[in-house]
Symmetry: C2
Subunit: 112 residues, 2 copies
DNA sequence: ACATCCTATCGTATTTTTACGATAAAGGAA
DNA sequence: TTCCTTTATCGTAAAAATACGATAGGATGT
């Protein structure tokens, strides 16, 4: 952004951008989808699901966690990642603030 | 991505990631929102709306256009950008394929 | 023709992202 | 204790994203 922040942007635009950005990679979408398919949390099975190195997957998990879309808690030797449903709802809500199909009729250019 | 493609990924995951990535910047969210507020298309008023250089805004518009979220057509001296409602609907649809709040009850870790 | 306005693109620099292998840290089993 | 498994982090390299000023090109007006 044009202004560096250490804290998360609290504005609606910034929040939507932040969440969208976290989803903005095929591997991360796949992780999210995988976590929603299972009722269990899945530790490192995610690594087996993806054609990526374990360290790379770990980085993607970190991004999702930082965005608040998933949580990870230690369970003995492995770590359990779970979806954070509230944050997905939040994302849907923010997306919903964008135009609905009916409210945007085909428009002619009126710049002049 | 783990496999370089010249064409757009056609898979659902890839498509969602692609659209989310396009939205994954505050300036681009703001542009989208601005375009939805107006009934007219707005040419370079977008530049005035943002604290960014004209060339930078032009780049962001290019990203949104490439993602199919907006269209831009030349109208005399200026260019008119419009929302592409269908693509926003598509984005909402893809997001909807992710879990609904009720389908993701609070789960205990079951990895072991 | 010339000047002006609007926009895209170029060239560039900085930052961020993505990916990997290697390593470290923590837990459980022998 | 010593292994083994699991995960995070480090170090690094390559690619992409972001931003700007400068420039080019197209349309309009004089």
């Amino acid at each position: 952004m044009w202004l560096r922040r250490t804290t998360r942007p609290t504005s609606t635009d910034g929040e939507l951008a932040r969440l969208a950005k976290a989803l903005g990679h095929p591997a991360r979408v796949r992780i999210i989808r995988h976590l929603t398919k299972r009722t269990s949390c899945m530790c490192g099975d995610i690594v087996k699901e993806l054609p990526l190195a374990q360290s790379t997957v770990s980085q993607h998990l970190k991004v999702l966690k930082k965005a608040g879309l998933i949580t990870g808690e230690i369970d003995g030797p492995c770590v359990c990642y779970c979806i954070e449903p509230a944050m997905l709802v939040r994302l849907k809500t923010l997306i919903a603030t964008l135009p609905s199909p009916s409210s945007s009729p085909k428009q002619v250019c009126q710049s002049k």
